[in-house]
């Protein structure tokens, strides 16, 4: 056990190692950030198409959305990453960070879409009917009534999705990208510390701290959205 803490001391006192970890961490953050951004925007679009009232213009888009979410959610993320790298973007010199962002973004979109769809559908039908009976347009009803109530149901689950994406990006090391996970593996290799447990442990702390921060932010947002749920006005 003594050597474990010694090794941690060694890791933190070796600038190269810290440099590698921060480098990897930065890549993890970049991929996660843009993937989540793409995931939420595309996910929202898919959810809106999916929950829209049936019309002849939407038959094909609705079908495409259904097929998309089924395929994405029905196949392993690692496989999707490989397909993006070695089939779709098998172009020499194409920046791998962009491929990774797209792979995770397109994957996250399918899950975000389900979360947002569920949130929209969970709003009581009577809320929409109240708006209709008052002569309001479907657009007004969506933005003033349904969306604000749906967001309250969506935020916690969407926070979960953000956390999942951040951790899942660790598999980019499988296609040779130098993220936080890869940095830990690299530092732990025989050429360096010859101990995997210490750098892995430190990398885990990085993940944990990031996710803790995100959980904290999500909780704050949830709290501020919960104003209208107050049972009594004291």
């Amino acid at each position: 056990m003594n050597s474990f803490f010694e090794k941690i001391g060694e890791l933190f006192s070796t600038p190269e190692y810290i440099d590698s970890l921060l480098h990897g961490f930065w890549l993890t953050i970049q991929i996660s950030y843009f993937a989540i951004l793409i995931g939420m925007i595309l996910g929202a679009i898919i959810a809106l198409i999916d929950t829209a009232r049936p019309s002849k213009w939407l038959v094909i888009p609705k079908f495409i959305c259904r097929v998309y979410t089924t395929i994405i959610r029905g196949t392993p993320m690692a496989l999707q990453l490989f397909i993006m790298f070695f089939v779709i973007f098998a172009i020499k010199g194409f920046p791998s960070i962009i491929i990774a962002i797209l792979a995770f973004g397109l994957n996250s979109a399918a899950y975000a879409a389900e979360v947002i769809r569920g949130g929209i559908l969970s709003v009581d039908k009577g809320q929409t009917e109240a708006g209709l009976a008052l002569g309001l347009s479907r657009t007004t009803i969506f933005f003033k009534i349904v969306a604000p109530q749906a967001i309250k149901n969506i935020i916690p689950a969407l926070g979960n999705e953000v956390i999942t994406v951040i951790k899942e990006t660790a598999i980019v090391s499988m296609v040779g990208m130098y993220d936080l996970n890869m940095a830990a593996k690299d530092i732990g290799s025989g050429q360096n510390m010859a101990s995997y447990i210490v750098p892995m442990f430190v990398a885990a702390l990085f993940y944990l701290a990031t996710i803790y921060l995100i959980t904290f932010i999500v909780k704050r947002i949830e709290k501020s959205l919960r104003r209208s749920d107050l049972r009594a006005e004291e």
Partner: protein
């Protein structure tokens, strides 16, 4: 304000949900100032009938004329401004305060300025004895308070007709009294009303006409005293025996 003018004329209205035929051809007329109570066993289609009038449910076939104009997909939104609706489960908008619930439609539809709408909302709130609830959210209100606010919300646009879909079915006895008092007051002021209810005493007291629906058809209709004391059909006799 001619008393003979027809507000609503319905011809051969049919509604089916999938294969389930709920309304099997309803012909109906409503004149200004009338108060029609719709009675019938559960599952008879009485709520569906009411909900078809303002297209909460789109009719499968048949025609609805409102103020002489055929109601269509295109003009229904405009028509709805003149047909207020009160729901069984109140349907106050949960993410808006009472005040915002009241002024949302008049302001959004540019019928009133915000100032005028707020002034009217405050008057109505004072009238129903809830002047201090303007900034409350629906979650903090009792059922009776919610329903009375839902009624004045429907009144904000000065509709020609008010449609009540079982307005007291989700309330406790004390709240029922408060809500019925408010409806009674609207009736006394000459409001044209259609109401689906299970409150027989109230129906008899308030109605100018009773319409009895069973299996998606109007079986019998008439003036309340005759309807309750001398029903013409066996079906109504049987129904009244059970509920009175």
């Amino acid at each position: 304000m001619e008393n003979t003018e027809t507000d609503l004329k319905i011809k051969n209205l049919k509604k089916q949900f999938g294969k389930n035929k709920v309304l099997n051809g309803i012909d109906f007329e409503l004149k200004e100032g009338e108060r029609v109570v719709i009675l019938g066993p559960s599952g008879s289609g009485k709520s569906t009938f009411l909900r078809c009038i303002n297209w909460m449910e789109e009719p499968t076939s048949g025609e609805i004329y409102f103020d002489g104009t055929l109601v269509t997909e295109k003009n229904i939104r405009k028509m709805r401004r003149n047909m207020g609706m009160v729901f069984q489960h109140f349907n106050l908008i949960n993410n808006l305060t009472v005040m915002d619930n009241l002024i949302l439609a008049p302001v959004k539809l540019k019928i009133m300025t915000r100032e005028v709408a707020e002034k009217r909302a405050k008057e109505l709130l004072r009238h129903i004895g809830l002047p201090n609830k303007a900034e409350a959210y629906p979650a903090s209100l009792s059922g009776g308070q919610k329903q009375r606010i839902a009624i004045i919300r429907a009144m904000m646009l000065n509709p020609e007709v008010l449609l009540f879909d079982e307005p007291t079915s989700a309330l406790d006895p004390e709240a029922i009294g408060d809500v019925l008092d408010l409806i009674r007051e609207l009736a006394d002021r000459g409001m044209t009303i259609m109401i689906v209810t299970h409150e027989m005493g109230f129906a008899r007291e308030i109605a100018t006409r009773i319409v009895f629906i069973d299996k998606g058809r109007i079986i019998e209709e008439g003036e309340p005293n005759t309807f309750f004391s001398h029903p013409k059909t066996d079906r109504v006799k049987e129904f009244l025996q059970k509920v009175l």
